[in-house]
Structures are given as C-alpha cells and as structure tokens.
Symmetry: C2
Subunit: 154 residues, 2 copies
C-alpha cells in the first residue's frame, strides 16, 4: 500500500472531525494487519474503485457512535441508536467518502467511493489483502480507520 | 432500483453456482427492505461504483459457507472455517463480482466492483437506501443476495 494514500485517507477523516465536529484529533501508532479486523460495535464500510481498489472501514464502539450522532444532531444526548441515528452515521460515512476522494485526488489518485453501508453488531471483517489500521483518538472516543487500498493486479 | 439490474445480479450469482459448483438454483420470492439486513453468519460484501452505486451482499449461514468452501476445495468436508476457508469465500466473492460486472454490462450498465470483503459473525447491515433481497435455494444451502444499486442523485 502507498503511504501517500494512507495519509490522504487519514487527512480526510481528521479533516471531517475537525471541520464538522470541531475536534482535535490525535492519530496513534498505525498497525498493519491481515486476515481479520474487528468491526467494534458500529462500523461504516466504504468501497473504493479506481486507480486503487478496496475498502475503508471506520469502526467505533457504541458510546462513540452515540457521541458522534449527538454532535450531528446539535448536541443532543443519544441514549439509543434509532433509525435516525443510523441515518446520521451513514451521513458521517458520506462525509468521509467525499473527503477521501478529494484528498486522494490531490495525490493524483482518482477513485470513486461507494455510498456507505453501516455494520451494526460485533463481528469481524476478513480479507486476504493487507489492512493498515490508524486509531484516531478524540474527545468523542476512538475511531479506528482500517484502510485496504491496492492497485489491481495487472 | 432497476429490475434489469437486479435480474443481472441474480443471473451472475446463479451462473457462478451453476458453472463452478454444478448446482441447480431456485430463486425464491424477492423481498424489498430498508433499514437493516441480517449478515447471517458469513457474508461477502461487494461495493459497486459506476452507472449505479451501492452494495451487493451475499449472506449465508455457517454450514452453507462450509459447504461452499468444501466444494471449492474439491469435495472436502470442512469442520471449521480457517484462514484458507476465508480466502476461498473471498474468492467466491471475486467470482460473483466478475460475473456481476459482465452481466450488468450486457444490460448497458457499466460498473466496477470492489474486491470482496468478508464479514464473519452475526450482525446487521444498515442503510437508508432500499435493498432488494433474493433468496437462492440450492443443495448447499440458502444464499441470500441483498442488492442495493442506485443511480447517483444528480
């Protein structure tokens, strides 16, 4: 995986958290992994096609998801994730998708990102392709950004 | 959603099950749903970009996953899903991805499909976009094909 692409995805997520949520975000040490990544309680899955192909998965625990939705709804306290909350989390994914496409285009990598799909419940995502995980610490909680973007075998 | 696209995705999956597995497949009554679709025990998620965008999720129970892997490994009995099994399930997703792109191109819909990612564990996929679910019954077990393909809002 190209480190410029990983940095672009991180900039995209950090940019959204800073511009839309007013958050200071501290990236922690990235990890490389294969085989299985945890979905945590809630994860947003973005599919990427273009000059690189793969997935970006943003995984958070339930409280962090509630905190994110709360800020998106103008500072409400969210007790349960209802349909409106899931829709907000999907919209959060849309913001990251749009920002990711922009940031990758700045490093000359043209991609399309699918509409986000949200995974609810603890499970694992498995792939034989390598994932790089960048944990982002914020006051709303930790957001694990798992990135698997590879050039098609030609 | 365009019924031609749904039929194309179903033809793709049925085609793989027939040509690669020698299976007779019987499509059961499709259902339309929103909000949440079950991941069953094992699901393969394909992201679609192009003239339509969204996801195709193929969900099976654990025994069906083992049966599929067993046939792919030349008729072995699979007791546990190990790394090689997960890799086989991902390859099963790759076959469906390739076939889906071909079948959709035949109805003048050009798309790219992401490499598959496999979800392991019971969870739900949530989206505010509509999903059409086509359950395919086969002797290996039931494969639920969930299709959410929409034109981008312009």
């Amino acid at each position: 995986m190209n480190v410029d692409h990983i940095n672009a995805v991180c900039r995209a997520t950090k940019g959204i958290l800073s511009s839309h949520f007013g958050l200071e975000v501290e990236p922690k040490t990235p990890k490389a992994g294969v085989h299985a990544i945890p979905s945590n309680d809630v994860s947003v899955v973005l599919g990427v096609n273009g000059e690189v192909n793969g997935q970006i998965v943003c995984a958070v625990d339930e409280q962090t998801a509630k905190n994110i939705v709360g800020v998106m709804m103008g500072g409400m306290t969210i007790l349960d994730l209802d349909d409106m909350s899931w829709s907000a989390i999907q919209e959060f994914g849309n913001w990251i998708a749009g920002s990711t496409a922009t940031e990758l285009s700045k490093v000359n990598c043209l991609i399309d990102v699918t509409p986000p799909i949200v995974n609810d419940g603890r499970s694992s995502f498995r792939s034989s392709e390598q994932f790089i995980t960048v944990p982002l610490a914020s006051t709303l909680g930790q957001i694990d950004v798992h990135i698997s973007l590879h050039k098609k075998a030609s």
